[in-house]
């Protein structure tokens, strides 16, 4: 921990200097090219909300097609122009582009950048007790590369040949050949360029998070005293650093195949009346490379949400999180295992069936740490004294989605069952619950919980309740029926099912799903109103509105550059001392020494109290 001792004072001095100049900050350096982690977090958040609206809106467009196949969509012509056919229908290729962009936007721009970008940036320095990120400049660069990536992706939506349309997984040869689908022309080029910037942004962010967590924890903040949010962000960043470069490699080889005549993924193709010269490539190679990122990516979006939930559930149950060490252990287990399960997306891709057996085995192992997490959440609620803040509601919703969606993963991870279920609506239901909705609810929980710290004001709780109930019920009404449609074999990414006798049923359920989706999307407007209204007109908050233990609530209500005006508080205990027997209040903040709480100390803590007296403070690493 010598490094910590060296770096912390250095960084602190550096930022104190900034603190003095705070008032002279120009608009540009405060709100635009800001290097303050809190402002960058807000930038990520607002951008993420913008993209969530776009991504959600695209899904409403294709749900119209699926739920109301006979509807005349002429009224969308002012918006979509030529993508509405002369018969007033959605163009089938544009339908695929909608599905593709919905997936890309939601997975990368909303749930990776919007979730991790916002809360890793906002919470890491505040909860570990640091003045800012290890590199404020890199942090700024990370946001602006993401912004640039977003601009490029946004432009691709307006191309005359349409945005990328080969699915968010962009499997070649479809994504490599403009002859195969018009979206694989300029739209795909822009997709790849945007993703290159996105990957760079993500890597800059992740490296920064890792460096900050390792080096800049305040005195006494050992790894075993980190809030679970920080553990989650830290492990997420580790996954990102190890997996995103592989996506970059995959994308680069695809660029080579598309533009420079190489044959990494192409072989023996006859298309558009001619045989292409490419021989020897393998489309399955791309799938391996893609899912080597793609599967860890699931945990990149999920772990931060679980971390936020751990914090919110413990705070609002007024109980310590059950099994703190088991929670860390299971997150570490998930982190490691997430790298060795990717081929379960490829059981029927034509890869060697023996490989399928191995990946089935590894995949079902990863269900164990996930189950442990669920049981620990349940036990945390057990005999709690639960306060239903909007954040708490969303966290409970997340746990429910994590259960419901996680369980269908046991079907899909079983290669024998996956034969029938692969690429059907069962898969769509599975990942929208366990990854999409769960992570989205984690993000919402985070926003409601830390809004007071971000803007110094409270969001309206009643509107929050309304938003939660409409969204929670709505999400189940949208995705639960998809299980039935999936068991019946309906393939995903279908513009229409009426060509098949086998899939001619269930229009009723599809209409139902579409209506539910529209209502759920509409109810997000309540959130939008609440968010922006409360930012300017919300009730002013108190210092610690949720009576929470973590360090961010020891800062001023609206922390300035450098977070703490004076010295950074020292940490004496873990973050989950809620409802400790004997304590005066039902929470004891992390910066309260044991010597101040003799009435509630456990035996081992009394020993540490003696030590506190001798040392003045506890060493950074308690094990030394």
């Amino acid at each position: 921990m010598a490094t910590a001792d060296i770096h912390v004072p250095g960084a602190a001095a550096h930022h104190e200097e900034h603190h003095e100049h705070e008032h002279s900050q120009s608009f540009v350096s405060k709100y635009i090219f800001s290097t303050d982690h809190k402002m960058i977090a807000k930038q990520f958040l607002i951008t993420g909300i913008f993209w969530a609206l776009i991504g959600g809106f695209l899904s409403i467009l294709f749900r119209l097609q699926l739920g109301f196949p006979d509807m005349d969509l002429e009224w969308l012509r002012p918006l979509l122009g030529g993508w509405i056919t002369p018969q007033g229908k959605l163009d089938p290729e544009f339908y695929l582009a909608l599905v593709t962009m919905h997936g890309t936007i939601m997975v990368f721009f909303v749930l990776t950048a919007g979730l991790s970008g916002t809360f890793s940036n906002f919470l890491i320095p505040l909860q570990i007790g640091a003045r800012d990120m290890a590199s404020g400049f890199m942090n700024m660069l990370s946001y602006w590369l993401f912004f640039l990536s977003g601009i490029i992706m946004f432009i691709s939506l307006f191309l005359s040949t349409g945005p990328a349309g080969g699915g968010w997984t962009i499997y070649p040869p479809l994504s490599a050949l403009p002859q195969a689908i018009s979206g694989s022309g300029a739209g795909m080029t822009l997709w790849l360029v945007a993703m290159v910037f996105f990957i760079a942004s993500s890597l800059l962010g992740s490296i920064n998070y890792i460096a900050t967590v390792i080096n800049m924890r305040t005195k006494g903040m050992s790894f075993t005293r980190l809030p679970l949010t920080i553990w989650a962000f830290f492990l997420t960043a580790v996954i990102g650093v190890l997996s995103f470069p592989v996506l970059f490699a995959a994308a680069l080889l695809l660029v080579f195949d598309r533009s420079f005549g190489t044959s990494f993924y192409l072989s023996e193709i006859y298309i558009g009346g001619e045989a292409l010269p490419n021989v020897g490539g393998s489309p399955v190679l791309f799938q391996h490379l893609f899912w080597f990122l793609g599967h860890p990516e699931v945990y990149i979006v999920l772990l931060p949400a679980l971390g936020i939930t751990s914090e919110v559930v413990a705070t609002n149950s007024r109980k310590p999180i059950f099994g703190y060490r088991a929670m860390i252990g299971s997150m570490m287990g998930i982190t490691v295992l997430s790298f060795v399960v990717w081929a379960h997306h490829m059981f029927v891709s034509g890869m060697n069936p023996f490989l399928g057996s191995i990946f089935m085995f590894l995949t079902l192992i990863i269900a164990v740490p996930s189950a442990v997490k669920v049981f620990n959440y349940l036990t945390t609620l057990w005999r709690g004294n639960i306060v239903f803040t909007p954040a708490m509601l969303f966290s409970i919703g997340l746990v429910s989605f994590f259960i419901s969606g996680g369980i269908t993963g046991i079907f899909l991870g079983n290669s024998a069952l996956d034969i029938q279920l692969h690429d059907t609506y069962f898969v769509v239901a599975h990942f929208h619950l366990v990854m999409g909705s769960a992570s989205f609810f984690g993000m919402m929980a985070g926003i409601y919980h830390w809004f007071p710290k971000m803007f110094g004001r409270m969001m309206d709780a009643k509107l929050g309740y309304l938003h939660f109930w409409l969204t929670f019920v709505g999400v189940y009404l949208v995705f639960f029926p998809m299980h039935y449609i999936g068991i019946a074999g309906f393939p995903r990414r279908y513009y229409s099912w009426t060509n098949f006798d086998a899939f001619s049923d269930f229009l009723d359920l599809n209409t139902f799903v579409s209506v539910a989706a529209i209502v759920t999307f509409g109810s997000q407007l309540i959130f939008l109103f609440n968010f922006f209204y409360s930012m300017f007109r919300g009730r002013r908050t108190v210092a610690n509105p949720w009576r929470s233990n973590t360090l961010e609530w020891t800062t001023p209500i609206e922390p300035g550059h450098g977070n703490w005006p004076g010295e950074i508080p020292t940490v004496y205990r873990w973050p989950y001392d809620y409802s400790k027997p004997g304590a005066k209040e039902d929470f004891i903040a992390q910066d309260v020494p044991f010597s101040h709480t003799p009435e509630s100390n456990l035996d081992i803590e009394n020993e540490m109290m003696e030590w506190e007296k001798e040392e003045g403070v506890i060493a950074v690493n308690e094990s030394k």
Binding site: G166, A180, P320, S357, G384, N385, F411, N414, D423
Partner: protein, 347 residues
């Protein structure tokens, strides 16, 4: 005009909602609810969780039971029975876990809602419990993995030697099938030889190709093993026959395969489902472009005798496209004519 009225209406509704919101806020401030740590809403939210659990649970059971026949499509292959059994075993086990966990989640939320006089139970850890609920899921999953692995090994094992070999080729946006004919061997193919008349790229230098035939719909013999040799011509496709519980990607440049035993003829299925128009179908389940949703191939399962009759009645591809005889090497041309069943007088 109507649009303007609608717009004004919408604005009015929004204004009313906003007014209600403002009034509501003022009432809250007046009552001091805003400053309270726990408000009356806590009870409402707790109760709603219980309502959600009960209503959701009833809806789940009702729909799953009432509509079983609609979502559980009939099985028509031997391995399909095995995988479907496994599916339902998994469903029962995980369904129990699903119900239990959700009941605990919403039940705890309701029963342990905030009460002023009570304080939460400080319970940070229990190693035995953690161990228990790591080991139990691990054992259950191990059982599921083992049964799944066994089924998977059987399904993906080598096809029996007497299997009927049928080539299925996906292209934008349809399927083509090719049967090996009397030689029981499919002729070689090369993608460079593909043209408008020769969609498979059949290599006519190979003797086995002379008697290959390519029907418009696929016929299969009931009760006999069938081996699909699957390939794609342009982009990825995926052969999906829902009733046979069969799915395998078609990959350009990398042939794949899937073998199975159809257990019910089309006629059997028509009787079982009570639908006189029932037909087996193959669909595409790998996104492949504009027409992805329309790659339908009709499949007919015949009784073995009928199947042989149907096979014997098929005209070979070469006989259908005699102009390709030129591509046959001169020394093999006579042999090709005989194998393809081309009569001299047709020329």
């Amino acid at each position: 005009m109507i649009k303007i009225i609608i717009a004004i209406g919408v604005l009015l509704v929004l204004a009313i909602i906003l007014a209600i919101f403002r009034v509501h806020k003022l009432v809250d401030v007046f009552r001091g609810t805003e400053k309270k740590y726990v408000t009356a809403s806590n009870k409402v939210n707790a109760a709603l969780f219980l309502v959600f659990l009960i209503v959701g649970g009833i809806a789940f059971f009702w729909y799953s039971i009432a509509e079983y026949d609609r979502y559980q499509i009939p099985i028509a292959s031997k391995h399909g029975v095995v995988t479907d059994n496994l599916f339902w075993v998994t469903m029962w086990i995980t369904g129990a876990a699903f119900l239990l966990c959700n009941i605990l989640l919403f039940g705890f939320s309701f029963f342990y809602q905030h009460k002023k006089e009570r304080s939460a139970y400080f319970y940070p850890d229990n190693g035995k419990l953690e161990l228990l609920w790591s080991v139990i899921p691990a054992i259950v999953l191990a059982i599921l993995v083992f049964t799944g692995w066994k089924a998977w090994s059987d399904v993906t094992s080598k096809a029996p030697d007497d299997a009927e070999v049928i080539e299925v080729m996906g292209y934008q946006f349809a399927w083509k099938t090719r049967y090996p004919g009397k030689s029981n061997k499919l002729g070689a193919h090369d993608y460079q030889l593909i043209d408008a008349g020769n969609p498979f790229g059949i290599d006519l230098k190979d003797k086995n190709s002379f008697d290959d035939f390519s029907p418009l719909e696929m016929h299969l013999p009931k009760g006999k093993p069938v081996l699909f040799k699957i390939r794609a011509r342009d982009v990825l496709h995926s052969v999906f026959a829902p009733h046979f519980r069969l799915k395998m990607d078609a990959v350009p440049g990398m042939p794949t395969r899937f073998w199975f035993i159809p257990e019910k003829s089309t006629e059997d299925m028509r009787q079982e489902t009570g639908n006189p128009d029932f037909d087996y179908e193959i669909a595409c389940t790998e996104i492949c472009g504009r027409g992805h949703f329309s790659m339908r191939l009709k499949v007919v399962v015949d009784e073995p005798e009928e199947y042989e009759k149907w096979k014997a009645a098929q005209q070979t591809w070469l006989a259908q496209n005699p102009e390709y005889l030129e591509k046959v090497p001169a020394e093999l041309r006579e042999m090709a004519k005989i194998a393809a069943g081309i009569q001299e007088d047709e020329q």
